[in-house]
Assembly symmetry: C2
Homo-oligomer: 400 residues x 2
Amino acid sequence: MANCLVAQSGGPTAVINASLAGVIRANQLNPLYDRVLGGLHGIEGTLAGNLFDLTDLSGREIEVLKQTPSCALGTCRYKFSDEADFQRLIDVMDENDISTMFYIGGNGSMSTVAAMTAWAAERNLDKRFIGIPKTVDNDLGLMDHCPGFASAAKVACEITHATRMDYDAYTRPEVFVLETMGRDAGWLAASTCLTGDVDLLVLPEVDFRRSIFLEQVRAKMEQQGSCYVVVSEGARWYDGTYLSANGKAADGLGHAMLGGAAGRLKSMIVEAGIVPRCVVQDLSRVARSSNFAMSLVDLEESYDLGVSAHMRSAKPEFTGQVVGIRRGQGSDGGYNTEFFACPAADLANFVRPFPSEWILPNYQGVSDKALDYFRPLIQGEPKLICENGIPLTMHPFNRR
Amino acid sequence: MANCLVAQSGGPTAVINASLAGVIRANQLNPLYDRVLGGLHGIEGTLAGNLFDLTDLSGREIEVLKQTPSCALGTCRYKFSDEADFQRLIDVMDENDISTMFYIGGNGSMSTVAAMTAWAAERNLDKRFIGIPKTVDNDLGLMDHCPGFASAAKVACEITHATRMDYDAYTRPEVFVLETMGRDAGWLAASTCLTGDVDLLVLPEVDFRRSIFLEQVRAKMEQQGSCYVVVSEGARWYDGTYLSANGKAADGLGHAMLGGAAGRLKSMIVEAGIVPRCVVQDLSRVARSSNFAMSLVDLEESYDLGVSAHMRSAKPEFTGQVVGIRRGQGSDGGYNTEFFACPAADLANFVRPFPSEWILPNYQGVSDKALDYFRPLIQGEPKLICENGIPLTMHPFNRR
């Protein structure tokens, strides 16, 4: 019996480890593989042969792993694309008797799954590659939503509501601007509208118009004496330049380093003389990898996707596939999770924007349809195991 | 039977409403006052006669109020100090048949309690003023700790741990700098050391020395390839200038507008060429008024302080007093909360710094004694009532 490899890639989420736990647990229930080996620090450590044997984690360890945010195996920002890397991955798999690789990641990782599958097929190699999606940006195609997104949305909603209440406690004239992650898609920023606390919403999907935005800020201040703005880090001008653009270098993958859109809006608002001060709160990483406001729906779906990917891999021809979630309807008429698989090639490197038909004009937020989409995803609070007042977490395998 | 007045002042906390709920509930259990009137927007709205009758909140409403962060009555930044204001407060009390005022606040509010008590005594006025402390800064004298601090510390700890895990998932050379509130006292920043995740800690209690700090950052990067820094917003140079000082105006009370210390450290670290990039996370208001990581100990103590203040006011001579918490020992040898009262004048306008004997040299964090002090305070997680995925909150009385 051969072994399998699991690796994580891209930015951390609150529930990426739940998918990892699902793969490990599924192999305990049905040992399709002799060993479940974790690739440390994503593809970077995997190529260097840094693996960690996860096969025999105890039930308790798996429970703790499920509630551990970030990436317990570590991650990387590494451009995996050339022939030498492909060959090196096959070599590592051969050296460790690995037949199947599960890759938990976002757009880039799903492209890797597609590319490796094609490369192995051309060479008649008996290696399989299976994708398990995750991204707080919620921008993968074909699926209803991505694991990790709902927990980030829930943290964002909780903080939006708390900071709105903090803001509303005062009478002084100021504008509040909250910034969320999300890269080029506005899903995470838009989700904060669930709270009913957002006055103005600035998304990457709408070309930013300074004059219209400032007019709206002024109108809110005049009408209600307050204005709570949420902006996505990827908000941009009509020419595609990010609002936050301030000469920052791109990272090694050609991604722009975002962050700073809220500060930019603050400057505009204060310079326009609308209010003398403006409070900026940048959620940054707090939203993506916190476990204090995990969505139970998200946690369970992410775990189940790990199990589903493992189970489906019982069929030898199951390769180059990504497992995903569709929105079904339960017998009670409510939300129900449905699992499916599709070719990784079909969603590789495609960024799914927040639907323009759900965006209200003049930065007024999103439609009821959008709220209906978001609402079921952030439901439920897992009972976390706490120790000394904070949730217990797994000591990262990449730091042992 | 006369009425009582309750008002909130200063910055919001996660549990200031729990103290309010305690006063309201105590009066339902033992109606010492005919009506419990809330002063809206702190002393500012109170002076304008804006009151809200809280006497008959339902049991359910009181439960929701307890878990509502921020200030449900609203707050203000208003310098309450001149004779005209004092007389106006007495007039509002007379107009509304109010004999007793409960004032929930920090240093400034406790000074107000002392000043109003003295003023009323000089004029033989039959009015009483009772202080209920709150501040996330934990800088009030005479008491073991301040309500609101522990929940802020718990949020700070949870986010420190989550962002440390996020940071540790990567291999690239960068430094992480987290900034907390706390004004001129380092309690909140220091509490994050409970996580074991903090490599370097910069507190207002230690004059900042650039060269020593950068030497330590460099050493951590060389030793372990990572460096996680926590800095208090009030960190300062030997001459008292804030690290964050960048020409910002003071607010109406002469308080400097803090925030930006982490950005300043980032600049120093990058300019010194230690690492090419540095991640900054400013917790700002997220720590002070979030209810997703409330400390159960803090929540219960804050509620009980409201009850205690009301109960003690059954004695006609109880005025000019502040109720507070002492650290007792339970029959099991563990932490136990003890309630006491002391004259407001004894703690007015005194800022209690984080003890210098608990600070390790060279920014290495805090001693075990400090951790022993913090640990019992962040214990326990209240079961929050949630609706549609986020904790239910009371619609602020000042926005009705």
